[in-house]
Symmetry: C2
Subunit: 406 residues, 2 copies
């Protein structure tokens, strides 16, 4: 069993870097604070006797040799960058749980057959630089190093420059690094475990995700003198689509998700009929066929709304991540470890993207969820219980040992 | 008949002050540009032999003596301040049409029984300083001079300071000024006349207007991991109310109006379920009983939505102007003048508030509408035809002469 107190102490220590007044953490990717966080974790890894490799996109791999170093390593990891209003656990837990596994193996003098590696991936959050999950995305070849280097923050600084500046542009070619299996522990970021009062979420898959931008163009006009029948009210048409986004998700339970999170109204004046409304659409489901059906139903509804309203409606897909089922052997390794340890458990499909979906393109992968308070993350009030974090880390230890063999 | 070319030339001359690149005018109340506009109009009035009175809120009265100066003047007027993206005609037309009436009377050497006055009222638009229709509002006692003086722009400058700075804080006590009858010519600011291909709108009344702020509070959460059934999506609840605002207006034709013009979503992020949505509601109708029914139906719908959704919904009325029927004698004066001149005509209820609704609290009042292109105003592309402006001014001349007697 791992040392829960040591894990908690490390989490609290790392959370001091970029700590906010409200108890959260603001440590955006490739800032000075990110560098401090990286240095702290790398220092801990060296103390634990791990060797460090850094690749050209700044992913860091911390390795504990096995008995047979020709075997590809069993890897765990996550990220230590945070949202602007981030918490102490999102990402950080996955990295420090990996470090705690290594410390425990050291304490118990356990030699694994395959090497063990703990990774942290660059810029998972995508807050400062888009796209999200940048380091793992480059690593698995989802997009190029050049694309990632060129990404700019709001001040025009690029990923390439900032990596160099903080000293984390390494020599290794991303992806030039075998992986035997990959596990990631993470807070759930949703309310399902807490709602069901379970400690461990076995994650069979991550939902697929389609992001869209929609623009409805009408004609702005004065709210008083313009009769109802002569209006081209962009908001009235847009709100019909917003309602339908949720209705579509409700037609494909239990994993259908439909969200409109972002809305801009022009000119946004009290006595002017809106001439244009822009909004985002986020559709998710665990099964690609269902997600595609949701996509088709949304396009059909928009076509129908366009012809009924006579307004111009544009819809563009801006991102797409297919559903990612995890490898049965890794899912079983998590399930077996949980059973052996006697934790209450259920399957929880991940609704959010994680670095594990990119790792899964290269090696058998799996995830372990633990509850977070009220299902809240990406928020300074994000919270999790020490006993749950400890349980998740124990499951990680045993799942990794099953794959790495002693 | 008035001189249409001279009227047009004056409109174009005044429109140079604050002219924008797109052909509009930006001349906000009590700015240096407003002072230049005021000085130009006052200069023209002096050339036409009028005497000038300025009151403490900066309303300007330009007077042509009658045969019997003991009679209260027959007044016309409007405003020369504009929206930030304003046009050449909104307000300005009403003031310069009045000036053209006076010039015509001078040309024709006509002496009226009652004096004639042309007024321009301070800050009708309410863009820089709220409330709207400030000068006429203080004049009729709707709110106090102190309230108006204390109004601040975004830079913290007050109406009192700015009036003094531009030299238009006059000595006369607002309202201490008799009015025999009041007429106001204005572009329609709606599409009704153009749609029906009529030149003159006889305005029997101005709609009543209720403004509200509504806030729906749910709980922000991650768009992926949060199941549909566990959400408190503030936008989904808000959009139901937004749809109902229009449905209510449609139940009370032909004058029911319902508009949501302003929407703010928090935190307004693509993959976060909205935790809070603030929006404005604008309800109008010509009949106070109907407007009140609309108000009650909206409150009932909000109560129902609150209990169905379990979300917190706050609604606050922030402004109310009752419907304003104009005086039958003034409406008839406009109707008679239109008939005598042979212009095509229809009744058009004003959907927008005008200084005339405050003048109507003190004296018999009426309005004359002319078409504006595509019904558009509060926009730099606001446009109107010279022949329509001329026709409206001719109707004004004859309506005023009927009341002032020759
Ligand atoms: N974990 C996480 O928040 N990923 C961002 C992409 C998503 O919305 O799923
Ligand atoms: N004429 C005008 O735009 N008045 C402002 C108040 C309203 O919205 O009616």
């Amino acid at each position: 069993k791992i040392n829960g107190d040591r894990l908690w102490a490390s989490l609290m220590e790392l959370a001091k870097i970029g700590a906010t007044e409200k108890g959260g953490v603001k440590r955006l990717a490739l800032t000075d604070l990110d560098k401090q966080g990286r240095d702290l974790v790398v220092g801990w890894a060296r103390e634990a006797g791990l060797s460090i490799t850094i690749d050209q996109i700044g992913n860091v791999f911390m390795r504990r040799d096995g008995a047979n170093n020709a075997l590809p390593p069993v890897m765990t990891g996550s990220h230590i960058d945070t949202q602007p209003t981030g918490g102490k656990f999102d990402g950080n837990y996955g990295v420090l749980a990996g470090l705690e596994v290594v410390r425990t193996l050291n304490d118990l003098n356990i030699k694994t057959e395959a090497p063990i590696e703990v990774a942290f991936w660059t810029n998972e959050e995508g807050s400062r630089f888009v796209p999200v999950m940048m380091g793992s995305g480059v690593f698995c070849g989802a997009f190029s190093l050049e694309t990632a280097y060129a990404a700019k923050d709001v001040d025009g600084k690029t990923v390439g420059e900032e990596l160099e500046r903080i000293g984390y542009k390494g020599p290794q070619v991303p992806g030039d690094h075998p992986i035997g299996a990959y596990f990631e522990t993470h807070i759930e970021q949703g309310p399902v475990l807490e709602d069901a009062d379970k400690v461990i979420g076995v994650v069979p898959a991550v939902m697929g995700l389609s992001w869209y931008d929609c623009v409805v163009a009408g004609m702005e006009a004065h709210a008083g003198p313009t009769p109802m029948g002569l209006r081209k009210d962009a908001l009235q048409v847009a709100t019909k689509i917003m309602q339908e986004v949720v209705a579509i998700a409700n037609r494909y339970p239990p994993y259908g998700r439909g969200t409109v999170g972002m809305v801009q109204v022009f000119p946004n004046s009290r006595n002017v009929i809106p001439g244009e409304v822009k909004f985002s659409i986020d559709l998710r489901n665990v099964n690609d066929e269902l997600l595609n059906t949701m996509h088709e139903e949304m396009l059909a509804f928009i076509d129908q709304t366009r012809s009924e309203s006579g307004l111009k409606i544009e819809i563009e897909r801006v991102s797409y991540y297919p559903p990612c089922p995890f490898h049965p052997e890794c899912v079983d390794a998590v399930r077996n470890a949980t059973a052996k340890l006697g934790y209450s458990t259920m399957d929880v499909v991940s609704g959010a993207g994680h670095d594990a979906i990119y790792a899964a393109r290269l090696a058998p992968s799996g995830m372990i969820f633990v509850p977070c308070k009220d299902g809240i993350s990406h928020n300074e009030i994000e919270d999790a219980k020490a006993e749950h974090l400890e349980a998740g880390c124990n499951v990680l230890l045993h799942a990794m040992l099953e794959r790495a063999r002693v």
